[in-house]
Symmetry: C2
Subunit: 346 residues, 2 copies
Amino acid sequence: MTLQNKQILLAARPTGFPKGSDFRLVTTPVRPLEEGEVLVKAIYLSVDPYMRGRMSEEESYAAPVALGAVMTGAAVGVVLDSKDINYPCGTYLAGEFGWQEYFIGKAASLRLVDPDLAPLSTALGVLGMTGLTAYFGLLEIGELKHGESVVISGAAGAVGSIAGQIAKLYHCSVVGIAGTEDKLAYITEELGFDAAFNYKTTRDYSAKLKELCPKGIDVYFDNVGGAITDAAIPLLNLHGRVPVCGQISQYNLEEPELGPRWLHHLIIKRAKVQGFLVRDFAAKFPKALQQLGQWYGEGKLKFPEQIAEGGIEAAPAAFIGMLHGENLGKQLVRIAPELPSPALMQ
Amino acid sequence: MTLQNKQILLAARPTGFPKGSDFRLVTTPVRPLEEGEVLVKAIYLSVDPYMRGRMSEEESYAAPVALGAVMTGAAVGVVLDSKDINYPCGTYLAGEFGWQEYFIGKAASLRLVDPDLAPLSTALGVLGMTGLTAYFGLLEIGELKHGESVVISGAAGAVGSIAGQIAKLYHCSVVGIAGTEDKLAYITEELGFDAAFNYKTTRDYSAKLKELCPKGIDVYFDNVGGAITDAAIPLLNLHGRVPVCGQISQYNLEEPELGPRWLHHLIIKRAKVQGFLVRDFAAKFPKALQQLGQWYGEGKLKFPEQIAEGGIEAAPAAFIGMLHGENLGKQLVRIAPELPSPALMQ
């Protein structure tokens, strides 16, 4: 019996927020393995803001997903069949599987995961690209120093929630910005943020930031862009830094938004605004993962996650909900149960 | 006979472009020197875009000039009287004299100038803050590398004209942007820029930059801000850099201008936008001046300057003209003849 692979394809390029009809579910037979390939069964799929960019035609740092192609995305799973002696059946791997139940390809492009060290889902989160993004954004691009004043937008999201905790480990004063009262409570009460405010119910971001950051802002970790960023930049301290991690407020706009010009503030404050992608730091991943793993093991990094049930079919709705800010922390989709039964192992 | 000092005071805070009535000429008697002070007779005064900021009430990196106070500004001059044995009469000094004929104060805040090494006016230009601003902006903030693609706005101005020549010394491809055909001819034919365009007669800055920078932009040296900057940022190459030196297009606006948001481009390109002030590099001035002096001595750095005649009374018009782009290179005002007669030495 040939194994059937459910896949989510990009059916249409969205205008504004993506909708269900922009995706299409198909079932295709799994092809036989070639020499050196592995067959990996996905267990968790990660849905992230950057994927919105890949759905657009415009060239970005990566090519857009072609219409009719499998949506791009990272997942963690287990090897079901292998023609690579280095990756036998039962090996856990994480990497760019795409939105599908089974991945076939070379294991060299994937990353080994030890399921005994930490829960499997952390390979997509605190001990994966999410944690690394927060780590390098804050420490390398943000040049974070002990005791500084830090503001994080998208603070209850996957990256923001970890960035805030790392800043607290550096004894910083940390203000988070999020969009629901539950998120504010979570990041202040559970994650240790010093203060937080709700961008949906706060009228004057500038006044609120001034109130919560009486000493100004040394590092503004930008996940969202737009009006929140406009308010944060003029409050930067001398030699302030703005790691630009994401611009989720802008991804679903049908028309580009205008905003106030603020480059003169960068001169006055001799401040730096710098975009980054975590993959540029690949050479430093092992050391960073060691540090993140240590913090995680010591219980110093909590990792909120939300897992959508329902298999690969649930991915589009989970993704769209995440873009609307419905997630607290990392948004995952459970593609298969964590412990596959022997029957599933074929 | 008491020496009389003509001074230009800030009479009113300008709305939009400054006008003559925003300044007031007064004559005050020069007070006697105290121990440790020098009396310096100004020879050249420098008028620069940053002074527009000091005329506004808004706090910037330096306090605003108070209404009724002497306008701030750098000059070079000669010691006429001294109660500091380290700075005898005849010593040449440069520094923050203000817009006046005579400066009285401690010499320690000023910089010694050797009039035999280079023309006196270069102490305010290529071998002074102007040259240092171009040098540190391009090499430290801009992290310029040999052979890169460089775009310079305000290219025929004091800083821009030197920045472009330094980039050429680094074998870069250099495109300048300026506002008259004479300026374009000067920077391409005299200063060696590879190409240039007129922002007043070019409709589509983005198309023009694409045409002149077929390999994209590695460093955009920003003196002007506004629509030129909007066009340059999306054309940055991977790991592009934007040293923000000035924003002259914005200084005289009566209402803040809106512009397209472009932070997503910084993520895509992992690019950096960083403001700076030359004074932050003070510890490195001696080494930089040595390099600039060497290039200048070898004839590798031309230093265009325009000298307004008419004494201190001519400063407001020269300043306003500079803000309107009437200058080619450095705009100076001759406050007194270069070789004071013995009679003037009292």
